[in-house]
């Protein structure tokens, strides 16, 4: 090995290509998002969760638990209680799918190809989240349709839109957690197993399905601090009025921001340095 070889002229340059511009970013993200949309055409079963989950859960909760929780014959009332709650829940469940889908991409060599292209590595993650937000929106639309069929009443339409927006913001923040798991964990089953362990207590230990007033004190403390309670309560208040929502909206937004700010850099870093 001689010095002449080490000092090859081009190697001494330190200037990397200029940062990728916003328009190029958007182009990359939309190309990658398009890929995920094309998947749906190829694999319609991948939409089962989005289409069936809101239908099955709504029917299940309204007819199986509705009478017990709200009193016999009061299912109509329970629809108004549980549908905003289910809106909060759906974001979590779809977010879990983000992690498993992303993990599968690593099993094939596709991620290696993306990571060896001159695109921002974050754009792969952002495209995935963009598509999942679209799927979440569709799930929410189906949930509301089923809700209306079962007698859901909404007194405040701008409030309804705000509630949908709030659920999307919170749901997308949760996606960053599952994206991180998708990059870090070994396989999709592990993510699913872990996801359920975390999601079940969070969802049931909240005000999503039933008012926490009958719960023991220690559990009430938990539900009070559970962001899903804040989101569900905020959505209820926004859709039907009758209760102050500013505090719950703020809590939900703070959680969303904190989770995103904390987890997005972790997900991007883990993705970038994944070996």
């Amino acid at each position: 090995m001689s010095a002449a070889v080490i000092e090859s002229p081009a190697a001494s340059g330190t200037d990397d290509a200029p940062r990728i511009g916003l328009r190029a970013h958007l182009r990359h993200i939309s190309a990658l998002a398009r890929r995920n949309v094309l998947w749906i055409r190829q694999d319609p079963e991948s939409m089962f969760d989005v289409v069936l989950m809101p239908i099955v859960f709504t029917l299940l909760f309204v007819f199986v638990f509705g009478g017990a929780i709200a009193g016999q014959g009061n299912q109509d009332e329970y629809v108004n209680y549980v549908v905003p709650g289910l809106m909060a829940m759906m974001g979590m469940n779809i977010a879990m799918g983000v992690g498993t889908g992303f993990n599968q991409d690593f099993q094939t060599g596709v991620m290696d190809r993306f990571r060896s292209l001159p695109i921002s590595r974050a754009s792969v993650l952002i495209a995935k989240i963009a598509v999942e937000i679209g799927r979440l929106l569709l799930a929410t639309a189906i949930l509301l349709s089923v809700g209306f069929l079962l007698g859901l009443s909404v007194s405040n339409v701008p409030g309804l839109l705000a509630a949908i927006g709030l659920a999307l913001v919170f749901g997308s923040s949760i996606m960053w957690i599952f994206l991180t798991m998708g990059v870090v964990m070994k396989n999709a089953q592990a993510i699913q197993g872990m996801g359920f362990l975390v999601l079940m207590p969070l969802q049931f230990g909240s005000s999503i399905f039933s008012p926490p007033s009958t719960m023991p004190g220690w559990l009430r403390t938990f539900t009070d601090y559970n962001p899903l309670s804040s989101l569900a309560d905020a959505a209820r208040g926004l859709m039907n009025g009758g209760q102050p929502v500013a505090h719950d909206i703020m809590i939900t937004l703070v959680w969303s921001v904190v989770i995103t700010v904390a987890m997005a850099p972790v997900a991007i870093h883990k993705y970038r340095t994944k070996t």
Binding site: S8, D15, A17, R113, L117
Partner: protein
């Protein structure tokens, strides 16, 4: 390290070709495992450098560092003049990568796969479409363009993978075990495509476990083992170094198997190891060092009145190359849990070259 060519190749060495890839003292550890332990190599522009080694030798780690998927712990490397650590974005624009596992999206059609890569490489919609169709045509995938890649055969998938690597017209192409797991016919298909790409002036760094593949495609060869370069040089030099070829002789009458072996031993033409009878295939194996020896063997057997049904020469297998270069067998270095080798040793047989000669 055994240096076979005495002069390091570089700019101004008479070939007039600058180095497209330079690697100096590259080190990468995974915990306690040293995947790369100070690797040096060069690939001159427009040539093919084969990197030969067993599972776990560090081949994949090397390719991943050169394609910016991994950051080295020490040493430096440049590709097309761009530093892998300091200029990754410029570097990514001039390389193509075909990994060990076909890195295509199985749920997308061939055309959609190529269109996607084109868009990610900043081609306009129209250009991305045109480029995709061009490459589908070139890699004989036009008929399957609209089918999802999951319906493709192994060879079609590799071809699509190669096509995807070519979208950006790279100047340097990394092929990580491009034919591992393919049947011999499909392997030939892939080789033909690689040869065409080289004909277009692309510089290739190719990793392989097969001596035959290296001989077929590479101008120069680097043999690595346990993260270290153990030999470096031209294919012919290396073959001479590891002791030439093996002659496989099939007597027309299987009963003449042992007399044939005995005759060969009598001739004293069999080299240090002597001849070996392979009863399962009805052949006798003889290591030979030169064409003169080959001629002498055939002449001697003819003189004894032994009729031959088949005669072929084989390149040394990776195992034999390793044995003569390092004194240990290649498979010894691939252990379970090796980071370079997630699936453990593959059960594909070592590549062997059969140059059937009519006798």
């Amino acid at each position: 390290m055994t240096r076979i060519d005495d002069k390091p190749r570089r700019k101004g060495d008479g070939t007039g070709r600058p180095d497209a890839v330079t690697v100096r003292g590259l080190v990468k550890h995974y915990g306690e495992t040293k995947a790369l332990d100070g690797v040096d190599l060069d690939v001159r522009e427009g040539t093919v450098r084969g990197v030969l080694g067993p599972n776990g030798a560090g081949k994949t780690t090397l390719v991943r560092i050169l394609s910016t998927l991994l950051v080295p712990d020490a040493g430096r490397a440049t590709v097309a003049g761009f530093d892998v650590v300091r200029q990754p974005r410029r570097l990514r624009r001039v390389i193509g990568l075909t990994g060990q596992y076909a890195s295509v999206d199985e749920k997308l059609s061939g055309r959609e796969n190529l269109y996607l890569i084109g868009r990610l490489l900043d081609l306009s919609r129209r250009d991305a479409r045109t480029r995709a169709d061009e490459l589908l045509e070139r890699f004989s995938l036009t008929d399957a363009a609209k089918r999802p890649a999951s319906t493709y055969s192994g060879g079609m998938r590799r071809r699509l993978d190669l096509a995807a690597s070519m979208i950006g017209s790279p100047t340097v192409l990394f092929l990580d075990e491009p034919t591992t797991g393919l049947d011999p016919r499909t392997r030939n298909e892939v080789w033909n495509e690689v040869e065409r790409m080289v004909g277009d002036g692309v510089t290739v760094l190719l990793t392989t476990q097969y001596m035959e593949e290296a001989e077929q495609l590479a101008n120069e060869l680097t043999v690595i083992d346990r993260g270290k370069v153990i030999a470096n040089g031209g294919i012919e030099e290396l073959k001479a170094k590891v002791g030439g070829r093996t002659l496989r002789i099939r007597p027309a009458d299987p009963l003449e198997l042992r007399p044939t072996a005995a005759a060969l031993d009598e001739f004293g033409l069999t080299g240090p190891g002597g001849s070996t009878v392979d009863a399962a295939t009805g052949t006798v194996l003889v290591p030979i060092l030169s064409d003169e020896q080959l001629t002498a063997v055939v002449g001697g057997l003819t003189a004894r009145g032994i009729t031959l049904a088949g005669l072929s020469t084989e390149l040394p297998s990776l195992d034999e190359v390793f044995l003569s270069l390092t004194g240990h067998r290649a498979t010894g270095s691939a252990g379970p849990g090796d980071p370079d080798d997630p699936d453990g040793p593959r059960d594909t047989p070592a590549g062997r070259s059969y140059e059937e000669a009519a006798v």
